[in-house]
């Protein structure tokens, strides 16, 4: 597997060299393999969004190196190649659409790249199909739900055909339904298209289906393991203002009373385990 993302000793400070400088990323090193689904979790202000913006050159490291498929974000000539490879979806679905008609908005990215017309039309249809919004092609986003708008934002990025999709807290402003819609799309893209997904969130539950869970705290990586293994450290997670998924916590509450359900991450496991116990 190719190495999609490589961060080496990356530091980043806002207002660097000024009295009010804030160190957001502290000497962070990280590798992400192509085709993996990585969840990046941390509380507000843990540096996770800064990290996301370092990945496509929206921010440049104060020191260290960020490489996407071997290209450094510091290399000006490679910047657009990097942005073509790293699709990024942000938090507020309302602030990412450029045009008022769905298909025009999806076409914006490929139009910027100077792709020929027939290919753009193919890509718009493909991207909208991937997020399950093809029937809204001629519609406007004004009356859509948050989940639908965010799926359109994903489609807008997909039309660039990136190899890596970064969801920068893209579920934070959505209702539970919208959240699961977006997650479903992300998992499908990972499985069907082999796209590398970096899902940034502060909800541990959303890390459940990920191959790998990276927990950020204070600009550093606190944990980097499979979700199951990370959840075992629920005490430390709590101390960095994170909570384990509901079902895991339910099992812990039972264990505290002396009822041992075994290790639980998913609802089905909890139900099975309780069936055995009762």
């Amino acid at each position: 597997m190719a190495r999609a993302v490589l961060l080496k000793d990356v530091c980043f400070s806002y207002n660097a060299n000024q009295p009010d400088t804030v160190e957001a990323i502290k000497k962070l090193s990280l590798e992400i393999e192509e085709g993996s689904f990585v969840a990046l979790v941390g509380h507000n202000g843990s540096g996770k969004s800064t990290l996301a913006k370092l990945l496509n050159g929206l921010l440049l490291p104060t020191s260290g190196d960020v490489r996407i498929f071997g290209d450094s974000t510091m290399d000006n000539k490679k910047l657009f190649d990097i942005r073509k490879n790293v699709g990024m979806v942000f938090q507020n679905p309302d602030n990412q659409m450029i045009a008022s008609i769905v298909e025009d908005d999806i076409a914006f990215g490929p139009e910027n790249l100077g792709i020929e017309r027939e290919e753009i039309i193919r890509r718009v249809d493909w991207a909208l199909t991937k997020v399950g919004m093809l029937e809204h092609k001629k519609g406007t986003p004004f009356k859509m739900s948050g989940g639908q708008k965010q799926r359109l934002a994903i489609a807008g990025v997909l039309a660039i055909k990136p190899k890596i999709l970064v969801l920068d807290e893209s579920t934070a402003m959505l209702d539970p339904q919208g959240r699961s819609e977006v997650l479903k799309v992300a998992h499908e893209l990972n499985k069907q298209e082999g796209m590398t997904i970096i899902h940034i969130t502060h909800f541990m539950e959303e890390a459940l289906g990920a191959d790998r869970l990276i927990v950020m705290n204070d600009g550093e990586i606190a944990f980097d393991d499979t979700p199951q293994n990370v959840f075992r450290h629920y005490e430390e997670l709590k101390n960095i203002k994170l909570a384990v998924p509901w079902d895991t916590q339910f099992a812990i509450s039972l264990a505290k009373l002396g009822i041992d359900t075994g290790e639980i991450t998913k609802e089905e496991d909890l139900i099975d385990s309780l069936c055995r116990l009762l």
Partner: protein, 299 residues
């Protein structure tokens, strides 16, 4: 969520809606210019009939079109008054003198006032039909296309079009945002509905500051989103949508051209052929002369 109409666009399907936006802009432009050349009441009757039919074809309710005239009612009345009092030619009906200023009401003044009002109303109806039947996006795209020649004299037409499109995209959101903030501050007892002008200005600060903060936040996020979608990545930008002129567009275009020709014929040819009758400063022109002559003969 309040009344956020999307521009003025009226979302129904019709022949007028389906016309090419560039043609609609051109045609509206032509129409608006030619309105100033309408001189006879007969032509006005024709034009209003035509407009009535066009509105019917566009499936936009008359009520809504009439509403748009309401907006310029003040302007209509104002110009009518100016015309009535400050036209000195024609036969005096009511002599009024204010010192040295002659403000007498003449038949020609009333004639002018009525024609001017009829013209303004036509202008407003014409442009309303354009905005009611064309989405803002179509309008921007069409304008970008029509203004393309300007890019040869280094005017960044494409960037301007993007700016316009973003503005159109974000204005409804900002209106909604304003509404929300206003509600929130009202809930804290702010006197936004006060009829006192100065009080109102002062009460707007708690709305304007959060609104600006929000607009800047939006702009910030949007800038990131534009960058992430490779804005300015290539000097050769392509377009997904290409305009295609269809038969119906040509038909519509020729129809309006025919009207324009008739208007000009009416003003210049008919007037000069028929010869305006001498009515002491009260002027009748175009087809009106023929009708006048016809009645005169009949009497």
């Amino acid at each position: 969520m309040r009344d956020i109409s999307f521009g003025q666009y009226y979302p129904v399907k019709s022949f007028i809606h389906s016309l090419d936006a560039r043609i609609k802009i051109l045609v509206t432009f032509l129409f608006m210019l030619s309105v100033f050349f309408i001189v006879s009441y007969t032509m006005f009757v024709f034009m209003y009939l035509a407009v009535t039919i066009i509105i019917a074809v566009s499936h936009v309710p008359y009520k809504i079109v009439l509403k748009s005239i309401k907006g310029i009612l003040f302007l209509l009345i104002f110009t009518a008054i100016i015309n009535i009092f400050f036209t000195s030619s024609g036969n005096v009906l009511v002599p009024i003198k204010l010192g040295k200023i002659d403000m007498s009401i003449t038949d020609q003044g009333i004639n002018f006032a009525i024609k001017m009002a009829l013209r303004f109303t036509l202008l407003v109806i014409g442009s309303s039909i354009l905005t009611f039947t064309t989405t803002p996006t179509e309008l921007t795209d069409a304008l970008e296309y029509l203004l393309k020649p300007l890019s040869y004299i280094k005017i960044p037409v494409h960037d301007l079009a993007i700016i316009m499109s973003i503005a159109l995209r974000f204005i409804p959101g900002l209106i909604e945002e304003t509404d929300k903030i206003m509600m929130a501050q009202k809930a804290r007892g702010a006197d936004i509905d006060s009829s006192n002008f100065f009080k109102k200005i002062k009460a707007m600060l708690p709305v304007l500051i959060p609104l600006f903060v929000s607009a800047f936040r939006k702009a910030d996020e949007l800038a990131d989103a534009l960058d992430a979608r490779c804005y300015n990545a290539s000097s050769k930008r392509t377009k997904m949508k290409v305009f295609k002129v269809r038969k119906s567009d040509i038909f519509a275009f020729l129809g309006v051209v025919a009207f324009v020709v008739i208007i000009f014929l009416d003003k210049y040819l008919v007037t000069s052929l028929a010869g305006a009758p001498d009515l002491g400063g009260f002027k009748i022109e175009g087809l009106d002369i023929l009708i006048y002559n016809f009645f005169k003969l009949a009497v």
